[in-house]
């Protein structure tokens, strides 16, 4: 489904990695490892098509994602180091807009439901800039509950979350994998997710 071929990534003078190859099939989880600065974020951004690779290519269903673009994006959810939510808008508005921007209309109660599941009850209508660090992250993660995308690319999704929220997220990812979704994630924390196929790649080794 997702295939990475001979990927090379260069930032400034540093070559982060080279000749990277892997494939990911539906129902598989890829855990990307590597020490600080190994190139995990760079790889994830390249896989999403935000950064152009120095050489090599990323294929989705056999086609280069650069030529697919919109079709590829339709099946993709990316969560980066930044939360991608507007501080002036409430959690509810953020989710409503993020879903309608991708062209779907999600019923209001479904969005509220997602926020409650992420433990944001009573905080739905506050401007997100007053929320705590962990609560902001939860708003960003609530998107995963309302999208129907197949490929999730999550860059350190567990940061700032407390133990309870980590459990919720783990369950969420496990369910996604069971439903034949694909997930790529990075984390420095020790997190065990209960899934069938768990692939691991260590970028520091390269």
């Amino acid at each position: 489904m997702l295939e990475v071929r001979e990927l090379e990534c260069v930032r400034g003078d540093h070559r982060l990695f080279k000749g990277l190859n892997f494939t990911l099939q539906p129902g598989e989880l890829l855990h990307l490892r590597g020490k600080n600065g190994a190139g995990k974020t760079s790889l994830l951004r390249t896989i999403c098509g935000l950064t152009a690779p120095a050489s090599g290519e990323v294929l989705w269903k056999g086609e280069n994602i650069r030529s697919l673009r919109d079709e590829y994006n339709r099946g993709l959810t990316f969560l980066g180091h930044l939360n991608g939510i507007k501080g002036e808008l409430s959690a509810l508005e953020n989710l409503r807009i993020s879903s309608s921007l991708s062209g779907e209309k999600i019923p209001e109660n479904q969005i509220l439901d997602a926020l409650h599941k992420m433990g944001l009850k009573g905080r739905e209508d506050l401007p997100t800039k007053v929320l705590s660090q962990g609560q902001k992250r939860r708003v960003a993660l609530a998107r995963l509950l309302i999208t129907k995308t197949t490929l999730w690319v999550l860059d350190e999704p567990f940061t700032a979350l407390d133990v309870h929220a980590i459990d919720v997220l783990k369950a969420l990812i496990a369910r996604h994998i069971q439903a034949k979704g694909l997930t790529i994630l990075t984390t420095h924390q020790h997190v065990e997710i209960d899934v069938g196929v768990l692939k691991e790649i260590d970028l520091s080794a390269a």
Binding site: G49, L50, D70, N73, L82, N83, E88, G103, P127
Partner: protein, 227 residues
């Protein structure tokens, strides 16, 4: 289905930007205040001779409109860039140029349109007559959207750069010049008895041209800046 989802997306982009601006009214009002102040200052700086003021009125109003519209350009994309929502916008399953067009439309509604609405008041203060005021209004109506469209390219190119606000003006102002010349020139040409038809057609043509090319250039610039 895809058609209507694109429509939904671009509409919600517009609504989003308008809501955000309404949350922080500062942005809209400073632009307007700035415009009003720059124009009202001129009688103070130049002296109260009415004929002189009438002569420079269209030029002054146009320059003020151009600068005021530019003032607000700096934040067109930079807020979205800093909180990571721009990344998300780039990953939407829709042509980026269409979403950009929505954003520019929002920008114009917030910073261009209020200026257009208030310009007759200022023109009156500077002694323009009824006919000239209507003509000025039409030129601003045609010209200011083009300003926003061109400005968007500059804003996208300077994204994430320090001193972006000033750099934008450096990139964009030279490109604004034709609009300024034909916008301000229309009233003058009318007064000289030459008619303003040609000026208006050219402004219209310019708007069309920017409407076609600016969103695509802006989208390209955004992808480059986010790389």
């Amino acid at each position: 289905m895809s058609e209507s989802s694109l429509l939904l997306a671009s509409r919600s982009m517009l609504v989003r930007d308008l809501t955000l601006a309404m949350r922080r009214k500062a942005d809209v009002l400073t632009t307007l205040f700035f415009f009003l102040i720059v124009v009202s200052l001129f009688p103070l700086g130049v002296g109260p001779q009415m004929e002189m003021l009438r002569g420079i009125a269209p030029g002054v109003i146009w320059v003020a409109a151009l600068l005021a519209s530019m003032l607000s350009l700096g934040r067109l994309f930079s807020d979205d860039y800093q909180d990571g929502t721009l990344e998300q916008i780039l990953l939407e399953p829709h042509p980026l140029s269409v979403l950009v067009l929505s954003k520019v439309l929002a920008h114009w509604l917030l910073s261009g349109l209020p200026l257009v609405i208030f310009s007759p008041l200022l023109a009156m203060q500077l002694g323009l007559d009824g006919e000239a005021i209507v003509l000025l209004l039409i030129t601003l109506m045609l010209g200011t959207p083009a300003l926003s469209l061109i400005g968007a390219v500059g804003a996208a190119l300077t994204l994430g750069l320090r001193g972006g606000g000033v750099l934008i003006s450096l990139l964009v102002l030279p490109l604004y010049i034709p609009i300024l010349i034909f916008g301000a020139g229309a009233v003058e040409s009318q007064n000289a008895g030459l008619g303003a038809q040609a000026h208006l057609s050219i402004l219209g043509a310019f708007l069309m041209l920017t409407l076609v090319f600016a969103p695509i250039s802006t989208a390209t610039a955004l992808r480059i800046s986010m790389d």
